[in-house]
């Protein structure tokens, strides 16, 4: 991979409180305050933004073209340069990053949102699967993650107490995250949902939204005291069928990390998009994260998992740590598809001289 031809940074991040349901709000009503949050943080107006990109899913919403109504919250008038991916917002950020690389824009607004509460997200996600051989069996997202977890246990990479430990650490760390849905040391680990995964190994089901502002070069320095520079970002996909993949490995994550330059220098923080405790085990291994790295200090997706936004939130949380001076070099990861099929890795850095 070639190094990025332009310096681009995350300069603002905002998210909603993630909740089991937001039935009193439409998607745009849920999203809009977050857009205002990042605009206010940078002092930008919609008309100052060079490019806007969002990520969401019609299947989650149960309506075609659901993203068109969310656009109302942006205030797209006069008309804006704008795009949408039917993916997690982390990939919307990636698209915006490429737009900034071209020099056509110096700032970008990225947002995503997801409401899992209206439908049954376990069943909705079955519609992602091979429509001929797999989707007709309705294997839900927990079942697929459980197959992966068992493969990890069989291979000796983890065991159920270790998985419970991941869950407990995540919720305990989330105690410091006011936006998290499940937080504190007293979250019960519960019964098996699909063995070997218990309630505590699974993400909470809920609704939420997030937004990020990207800016290039000097514009980033104007908008943010300590920009979180994207020193590398890449994403890779694997074969779809679980039966052809080694579920104990994540070659796409490894490749994306290599291309993003992760292994060139150590990171102090990693925000991993691992909705299931067992997936953190896989990711830690391929990303070579030692005990000296703060993994998911926000609590991660085990503490709040607004589908379609949870990946973008990882990037935002990692960036926010740099903004606050709590991290010098942070890794952010997002995933999509069954059992970590598609993975994105971003490396964010604070710069010397921009330290307090």
């Amino acid at each position: 991979m070639r190094p990025p031809i332009r310096d681009i940074a995350v300069v603002a991040f905002g998210q909603t409180d993630h909740r089991r349901t937001t039935e009193e709000q439409s998607e745009v009503e849920m999203l809009m305050p977050v857009l205002h949050q990042v605009l206010d943080a940078t002092g930008l107006k919609t008309s100052d933004i060079g490019f806007t990109c969002s990520g969401s899913s019609d299947y989650l919403a149960g309506r075609a073209f659901s993203f068109t109504m969310a656009l109302d919250g942006v205030g797209a008038w006069p008309p804006i340069s704008e795009s949408h991916v039917e993916m997690d917002g982390a990939w919307a950020l990636y698209e915006a990053w490429t737009k900034l690389l071209t020099g056509d824009a110096d700032t970008a607004l990225v947002y995503s949102y997801g409401k899992s509460s209206p439908g049954s997200v376990r069943d909705v996600l079955t519609r992602q699967l091979d429509p001929y051989y797999v989707a007709p069996l309705w294997p839900d997202s927990v079942a697929l993650a459980a197959l992966q977890a068992q493969a990890l246990i069989d291979a000796g990479h983890t065991d159920e107490p270790a998985l419970a430990g991941v869950a407990a650490r995540s919720r305990a760390d989330a105690a410091g995250n006011p936006h998290a849905q499940l937080r504190g040391a007293d979250v019960p680990h519960g019964d098996y949902v699909v063995q070997p995964l218990r309630t505590g190994d699974c993400p909470p089901i809920g609704d939420g939204a997030a937004a990020v502002i990207l800016a290039a070069g000097d514009r980033a320095r104007e908008l943010c005291e300590r920009p979180a520079w994207i020193s590398g970002i890449d994403h890779r996909i694997e074969a779809h069928s679980l039966g052809v993949r080694d579920l104990t490995d994540s070659p796409s994550t490894r490749l994306a990390a290599e291309n993003a330059g992760l292994f060139e220098r150590p990171v102090d923080t990693a925000e991993l998009h691992a909705p299931f405790s067992s997936q953190e085990v896989v990711l830690r291994k391929v990303l070579r994260l030692g005990d000296d790295v703060a993994v998911n200090p926000s609590g991660g997706a085990l503490a709040a998992n607004p589908v379609m936004a949870a990946g973008l939130i990882r990037i935002g949380e990692a960036a926010a740590r740099i903004h606050r001076g709590e991290s010098r070099r942070a890794l952010a990861h997002a995933t999509s598809g069954p059992c970590l099929q598609q993975n994105l890795v971003a490396v964010l850095e604070g710069r010397q001289g921009e330290d307090r």
């Binding site: 806007t52 068109t68 006069p78 804006i80 795009s83 949408h84 991916v85 490429t98 091979d130 890449d234």
Partner: protein, 389 residues
């Protein structure tokens, strides 16, 4: 500011578009277009650095984020794969996202593809899910757009025959395009004008079909273009613009987002007078009246002048500004792919590869797509020569 890498189109492929491709899976359909694009570029799967795919709502095939399942068929395993969805403009937007990967020097060679396999379900269903608390008044897109056509007629005084002229022209153009869905060999103007009114003022023959189809392109940088066995098309400008679905002051007849998008593309390409400097247009015309409407919106005619261009034959295949030489959306509509087909057909023209529907001497051609409630626009201008600015 950075110096953008020029983007070349070196491979183009599409399926033979039909109402129902019962002989292939969804993977088989997209693969066919992708393989044709690779063959055209004389490249292999290993030459592709990334895949950018687009389609309209997932409900149309009943597969959520189908790119996950299509990764294998599109040779994307181990590569980046992006999925774009910007409603009807998605085919165009997808190509532009892919172009950015090259222009931003992230990748050297990118496969971009858009598709719809409408026969898996029924677009009317997908567009009309029974949302509670909303009053069902209509089904399908025709009824949504017909009132705006009437508003155009009222605003410009266009005679009510103009729509039929467009349909008659596009269907005859489609006879020269082997990939087009509708091949109405016995089409006559009288038949178009005698076809039933569906959503008055839109007649049956003035609407688009439902198609299964896919379209793919290979985009590459200067080094890739230098290796291209066939002359590439060059991207001279590209832009997306969006405005809200409904708002106070919205001009549905000539949306500001469309005007702004075209202006941005012309600025990038150094076009001062599109009517004189652009040789042909592939525009997104799902209902025939949108040809004169977009002619005005895109600056090829003044307000009220679009229908006069159409009526005078300027937009015929042998006219001074041919529009929809391929037969357009009126002859072929795999929804998610329709925008990319416009972009690809524009590139075919400047490469001199459009076969029987080739416009002699086409050097600069515009590809145009729109979607949602006339709110999402994507366009590119391609040329036979590399950009000089």
């Amino acid at each position: 500011m950075t110096n953008k890498e020029p983007v070349a189109i070196v491979g183009i492929g599409q399926t033979h578009h039909v109402a129902a491709r019962r002989d292939v899976s969804i993977a088989g359909l997209v693969r066919e277009a992708a393989q044709r694009a690779l063959t055209d570029a004389e490249l292999t799967w290993a030459d592709i650095d990334a895949v950018v795919i687009g389609k309209a709502p997932d409900f149309f095939e009943g597969v959520m984020m189908p790119e996950l399942y299509l990764a294998d068929a599109l040779g994307a395993v181990g590569k980046p794969m992006l999925r774009v969805h910007t409603a009807g403009s998605v085919g165009g937007s997808t190509a532009l996202v892919a172009a950015n990967l090259v222009a931003g020097r992230v990748h050297g060679t990118v496969l971009t593809l858009a598709f719809e396999k409408q026969s898996e379900s029924n677009a009317m269903w997908g567009l009309s899910l029974p949302i509670p608390f909303q009053q069902p008044l209509l089904a399908g897109a025709g009824g949504f757009f017909a009132p705006h056509v009437r508003a155009y007629m009222r605003r410009t005084g266009a005679p009510d025959t103009v729509g039929s002229l467009v349909a008659y022209k596009d269907r005859r153009n489609a006879l020269k395009n082997p990939y087009a869905h509708l091949h109405e060999h016995d089409v006559t103007l009288e038949k178009v004008q005698a076809s039933p009114m569906l959503w008055d003022p839109i007649r049956y023959s003035e609407t688009c079909p439902s198609s299964d189809g896919a379209c793919a392109m290979i985009l590459t940088d200067r080094a890739g273009a230098a290796r291209s066995p066939k002359p590439p098309a060059w991207m001279l400008g590209g832009a997306m613009r969006s405005e809200p679905t409904l708002f106070a002051g919205k001009d549905f007849v000539s949306p500001q987002a469309g005007k702004d998008c075209a202006a941005d593309v012309y600025r990038q390409a150094g076009i001062a007078d599109p009517r004189r400097e652009i040789d042909a247009v592939e525009m997104y015309v799902p209902f025939s009246w949108y040809e004169p409407m977009w002619l005005e919106n895109l600056g090829f005619a003044d307000e009220g002048g679009g229908w006069k261009l159409t009526e005078s034959g300027v937009t015929e295949l042998d006219g001074d500004l041919p529009v929809n030489m391929s037969g357009g959306v009126l002859s072929t509509n795999p929804i998610g792919a329709s925008g990319m087909i416009r972009f690809a057909e524009a590139a075919l023209q400047v490469r001199g590869q459009a076969g029987e529907h080739q416009v002699d001497g086409a050097r600069k051609v515009l590809g145009h797509a729109y979607g949602g409630g006339s709110q999402f626009f994507s366009m590119w201008l391609v040329g036979a020569e590399p950009p000089t600015r």
